[in-house]
Amino acid sequence: MNKILSKQRLSQEVFRMSIHAPEIAEARSPGQFIILQMGGDFGERIPLTIADADAEEGSITLIFQAVGETTHRLALLEVGDSIENLLGPLGTPTDIKKYGKVVCVGGGIGVAPLFPIVEGMKRAGNEVKVIMGARNESLLIMEEEMRATADEVIVVTDDGSYGRKALVTEPLKELCEEWKPDCVVIIGPPIMMKFAALTTKPFGIHTIVSLNTIMIDGTGMCGGCRVNIGGETKFACVDGPEFDGHLVDWDNLLLRLGTYKPQEEVAHHRCHIGLEIPEGDA
């Protein structure tokens, strides 16, 4: 079950894996995710977006950044190894339809989950422009795929090491003013999504964001993933992960993401001593 079919290293910390999971491959739609668990009794359950799927081959693709213990362990698996537990597809699919003009904004690893949405939006007959950002050139992923799919791709880096030296909000504002999109989809670090959503707000443009809350079961059973949307409590794992970016209580989301900060720092430290990922292409 869930054998790893291929693995590539996209950047220092980012990996792409395709995994045998025929039922998930068949059932999934863009915007949905899986939850995986490894390491016997003691492993953690973590959510990752389904970046792509091939129903014929019966495989799904995950793209993930090794940020903590579980993602490090995942990065150490090789082709032929299996992932013990893989549940999906979870969450509500992206509301893909013909809007007309769509801007898709991806920050950091957020570019990966954005890709199937860009594809979907194109297929639905939209004109799609992509803004992708990263801290620096070495952290940029999937530029080629994006260029092959979208009508236009704007690349920005925080330090100007590649593309334009800017935050994603700059070109986003320009597009809102000049191109006047009908829908904006934003996926990335919460702080970036917050400011990007604030950017589109004055223009009244329908804005979709994907909230990466802490999750456990992913089935609506625990409420650990709850978020405040327009004053109402919603569960990101079933009602989301995508929500109207103008209704999200960003400050509460950021607070809740920090719930286990002290413990994660300890774990992060531990995995950096014990689980160094070897350099070079995997």
């Binding site: 039922e23 998930i24 059932a27 668990q37 390491g39 009794d41 003691f42 492993g43 953690e44 359950r45 213990e69 579980t70 013990e84 537990n85 893989l86 549940l87 999906g88 597809p89 979870l90 456990i216 079961d217 089935t219 609506g220 059973m221 625990c222 409420g223 650990g224 709850r226 978020v227 405040n228 409590t233 079933v238 209580d249 400050d251 509460n252 607070l255 809740r256 920090g258 719930t259 286990y260 002290p262 413990q263 994660e264 774990a267």
Partner: protein, 495 residues
Amino acid sequence: MHVSREELDKKAKAILEEYENKDISPRQRAQIPLQEMPAQDPQVRVTNMEEVALGYTENQVRAEALRCLQCKNKPCIKGCPVGIDIPAFIAAAAKGEHAQALSIIKESSSLPAICGRVCPQESQCQLYCTVGKVLKDVEQSVSIGRIERYVSDYARENKCETMPKVAPETGKRVAVVGTGPAGISAAMDLRRRGHTVVMFEALHKAGGVLVYGIPEFRLPKKIVEHELQNLKDMGVTIRRNYLVGKTRKISDIMGKDGFDAVFVGSGAGLPRFMGIEGENYVGVFSANEYLTRSNLMKAYAVGDALTPLFDSKKVAVFGGGNVAMDAARTAKRLGAEEVSIIYRRTDIEMPARREEVAHAKEEGVKFLYLHAPLEITANEKGRVNGVSLIECELGEPDASGRRSPVEIPGSEKMFDCDTVIIAIGNTSNPLIKATTDGIEVNRWGNFIVNDETCETTLKGVYAGGDIVLGAATVILAMGQGRKAAKAMNEYLLTK
């Protein structure tokens, strides 16, 4: 005062020497002292996750069984939701024929080792027991549940359980959604009748609430695993990591995958929140989340487990049921300095099993009655620092027959804490309803089923347990699983 197991055993032995194999009158039987359940010392057990109640010794079970009057009218059976022949199994246990006793129980119940531990006996069989009536104290009734537990444990440990026989294959295929007590008992009975049974479970471990909700210290997971292993040995397939409705819809399971019938035992897995200000601050958890982290993800094994736990010093738990007791006692074990259960009514209205309330008190959990929360407050970092409460008094009885709490104006006060656990109940998870056409639910979201057959409004789809009853009990879930299996068997044979 804590009394050791050895001490209790010695006393039981003395009783046996006096009464066993003698002709004793009912009056004398009722005078035999109730056998206390041996337990871990409260001081010790709050530092570990191991089972609190240690189980009777052989002497104790026989002494307790001697207390049964073998009433002609068998009132206790009326109180048992699945109608176990209680006097008959107690008579067998009194003679030391434990495997026989277990066989009698298994005619009516599929999970005695579990029910013996978690059933609310004081409001079921033991409520009707003549001995309790004679002594005018339900707590003095024959300890039916403890005897049930003993004989089940005995048979499992001594490998003398009789395995259910599987009838010749019928070629019919049944899907069972959910691996809680409802699903387990339906699967067992359907397999017994020769049908192919595949169970689907969303989580990475099977067992439902028995595994993710009820803590190890009350129900050791190896007991649940044993029941699941029995199912596998009978030829039932268990597929974990499979969320029916998402991985596959019921229509595809019955269409593309060719299952002839489906049993839904998906439970009441949707936590209720209180709807007050501050519920999304850092440090507020549903009991489901708190318990899942500890039980399913084994977060209590700090250092081994990768799932983190919130660092709590002062914990407030809202609710008065088993879930609240489990959350509070778990918090104690996870190192909280002070844990309080805050309940809107009083001790006697609490729906939790009496034994759990007593155990919680022994472990130092505090109880604050007649208080309701108004708002959760937090510090500048959004971390919980207290709850504002209002005092209540008891008014008229409500629909549940319990007197309902009425807030006393002007009695607001602050309660300091850094963690809030909400254990005010669960409602049914809407996922299957939302992804299946033709299944009708009532206004609480519970599936509507035929009382006799447990069939839903969709032909060939049956349901039982918490998804039908709302958050109820293990024994009721099991009973419905069996009832549905019987009707499904008839449906399959005529299909």
